[in-house]
Symmetry: C2
Subunit: 361 residues, 2 copies
Amino acid sequence: MRHVHAVILAGGSGTRFWPASRRLMPKQLLPLAGATDEPLIAATVRRIESLVPPERVWVSTGAHLVAGTAAALPRVPAAHMLAEPVARNTAPAIAWASATIARSDPDAVIAILPADHFIGDEPAFREVLSRALRSAEEGWLTTIGIVPTRPETGYGYIEVGASVGDRVNAATRFVEKPTRERAAEYLAGGKHLWNAGMFFFRASAMREAIGEHLPALAAGLDRIDAAAAAGKEAEVLAEVFPTLPSISIDHGVMEKARRIAVVPGSFGWNDVGSWEVTWEMSERDAQGNALPVGTIAVDAKNNLVKDLSKTARSKRWALVGVSDLVVVETDDAVLVIPRDRAQDVRAVVDALAARGEEDKL
Amino acid sequence: MRHVHAVILAGGSGTRFWPASRRLMPKQLLPLAGATDEPLIAATVRRIESLVPPERVWVSTGAHLVAGTAAALPRVPAAHMLAEPVARNTAPAIAWASATIARSDPDAVIAILPADHFIGDEPAFREVLSRALRSAEEGWLTTIGIVPTRPETGYGYIEVGASVGDRVNAATRFVEKPTRERAAEYLAGGKHLWNAGMFFFRASAMREAIGEHLPALAAGLDRIDAAAAAGKEAEVLAEVFPTLPSISIDHGVMEKARRIAVVPGSFGWNDVGSWEVTWEMSERDAQGNALPVGTIAVDAKNNLVKDLSKTARSKRWALVGVSDLVVVETDDAVLVIPRDRAQDVRAVVDALAARGEEDKL
């Protein structure tokens, strides 16, 4: 059997989790999934371990994030940290990582997994993952589609076609984030799945599809491969990578290629998009509060308090008469925001950037 | 002219300012008056300095508070820290302090001042204070009555009688905290002033009044005086003080004695009763917020954030979409409470006590 490798996409900046998330501490490096101390990226690697051992895990990230990422993944080889000179969206990231893996393992089957998602039912996920890997081995460019549970307008959707295997279907269309009405139709129709950004393919199949649909990217890969053979990859990468087309793998390849498959899955998936979602995912008390151990709550309901400061263990929180509030504290910042405005954290980050407060970004 | 001495009543526990206030750091030791770093008790001593120099200031407090109090008042003699063995309300505190002063200065005129109030117009206060001291020198047991500005039900009132001097009146009655209706009548009638707990008297006049109205207290004072003459005050104080009647000077003396005078005053007085009051007293921005320097506020109105932690200067607060909230942070605790529930901080302190969390009290 071919070796399966995993590429973890870990280039995100995650401003939506300020003040916990920072340029050097993006969402995937934070323990945002409930009560655990495990960073999201560590959970991503751990939960696939029985299918892809850490020595065949690769991480696509930014140069400034390599140190923090490696620290979160002590069992992944340091040489597997693939530092992009600049961020150029997912197609170049996936293409370069796949080309790198193919140099030493040309027959590789590759799983592309976002670093910063939460999965509630890990055994169910592994079953879907196995099915997706089998589909990939058979030559399909395969994705996983999450069975929708609400008319979500924040995700892309995948239209499901005819069955092409055991609970594997052809993917007939990739759809952008829909309107509210369209999302409700998708939910009712049962023919659309959420695009969770997970992709599975033979290295050779992806290279072929890139050659067909993204020739400029393919040409860049050829130059990088040649440089790697000559021992000059870093130098050429720094020159070539910024010139690659900045496009997502969805737009650049999946929407255009033939033999696209989708494996439907239901495994408590969550993209951990905001503090609001962190509250939803957290264990909560009878009043709906997710609070530090020992907090005194009086007439307080549905609040999230996340204390990530060094003094959290010796600190006593007290909430009186407040509801639906998010409070997040780190060593050098505190955020207070209603749960239903959690998306507006971006306004804070923008204000900090406008002020030039680099140490808080 | 007789010497004027001041006795600062500083026995309060101040649970209403948790988490800033603690058993060893009560309200009077905190800088609660707006933007200043000056503890309330230091302001109390500073603002009377031109009338009563620090070397004639005495402080009535609890034994556990002597160290912190002395640190806040470096210019007050250490021997002037009068540590009560147990708290027995204001009559024993004032009586013992007055007796102590009278031993070395039998002709003393004494001003009794609460340690933990705020005064906005200090020159106006000093003018009223001077008038009260003159009245005391003439033999009256004198108090200051604050001209009411609202139908407050949280204070006692003093009924004003005939004029007995230049802007000094006889006090005809001391009234307990009134009902809402009664307080409105007082405000409309113009014959009632707020009792701010400030008293002025000759040491000899107070001793005489105590002898008449609180004979048990007078007998205790005689024993303490005799012990002091024999060099055994501490020992006898520990034995006698707990047996003294626990009663306020208002109830025990002022309501019963003859020749009680009141000096009306308007000088921006505030008893700093809660975090709500701290917000009122603070400098606020155009949106009504009183926030740490540099705070990012987006759609945030009428909030108070008080960061008293060691890391406050390097910490960035961000408030988005919250109004009328109080957030107070210290090194080991954080309180989040709506402004209009600020009085309910007591519930937190009660919960901590019930749990036995001594280090947070």
